[in-house]
Amino acid sequence: MSDTPHEVHESRILRTELLWAFGVGIFVAASLSMIVFTALTINVNPPSNVERIDPKTLHLSGEFAEQNLGTTVFGDGTVIVRAIATQFMFVPQCIAVPANRRVTLRFASPDVIHGLLITGTNVNTMVVPGFVAQVHTEFRRTGDLLMPCHEFCGQGHSEMWATVQVLPDDQFKPGADGRVSCAKR
């Protein structure tokens, strides 16, 4: 029994659709493999820290009190940067970080939703009141990088930016208390 022309057309269309679905399947599998591969080999992950903090009191005591802001190097070599994003400035205004070392950046907001990115890097996060925004990264080039607020936060939003100073190893010298400040230029 031979197929009618209508059935032949349908089978051709079906074959094309299956071929297309196969191609899409390959692409999706390849994309997912690449995401998993880069996550496992070079630590590229979406920032996904969920950590609560009381925005009304974060400046009074604890991690985000004024004396703890900025860059701190701990005994085991861990580098942690803590900064507050507030209307309409980052505190501190300049952040010193080492080149080619893993750095943990932690941000909190006491007022409204802010956001930030560091130019020339993949650092890009929202800073939501009530939560600590945490990003791990490694700066590959030395020099001054701009860190603007990229979430409209009020009338002074366009004036809200800070500098990230990426220092080579020989200039990144923590003091006795482990603190590192930006070099005067």
């Binding site: 022309p5 032949v8 057309h9 051709r12 269309i13 074959r15 094309t16 071929l19 297309w20 191609g23 692409f27 690449m34 880069t38 996550a39 070079i42 630590n43 590229v44 992950n45 979406p46 920032p47 020339g120 890097t121 993949n122 650092v123 890009n124 990003v135 791990h136 990264t137 490694e138 700066f139 590959r140």
Partner: protein, 65 residues
Amino acid sequence: MPPDRTSAADSKREVADEADDAALASVMRTVPLGAAVLAGSMVALLVVGYLLIYTLVFLPRGPVG
């Protein structure tokens, strides 16, 4: 359609052409392939653009997580 007509089928212009089976068969031999080539090449362009940005811009900017 003029108001005194009750159906669009009254007008020859509104009725679909009769399909000639042989002509339809010849068209249907190439149409699915042509659609696949057109859509495939456009998607391939998008994928190439994505891969270029991923490998030449995103990865050199360093790890993030």
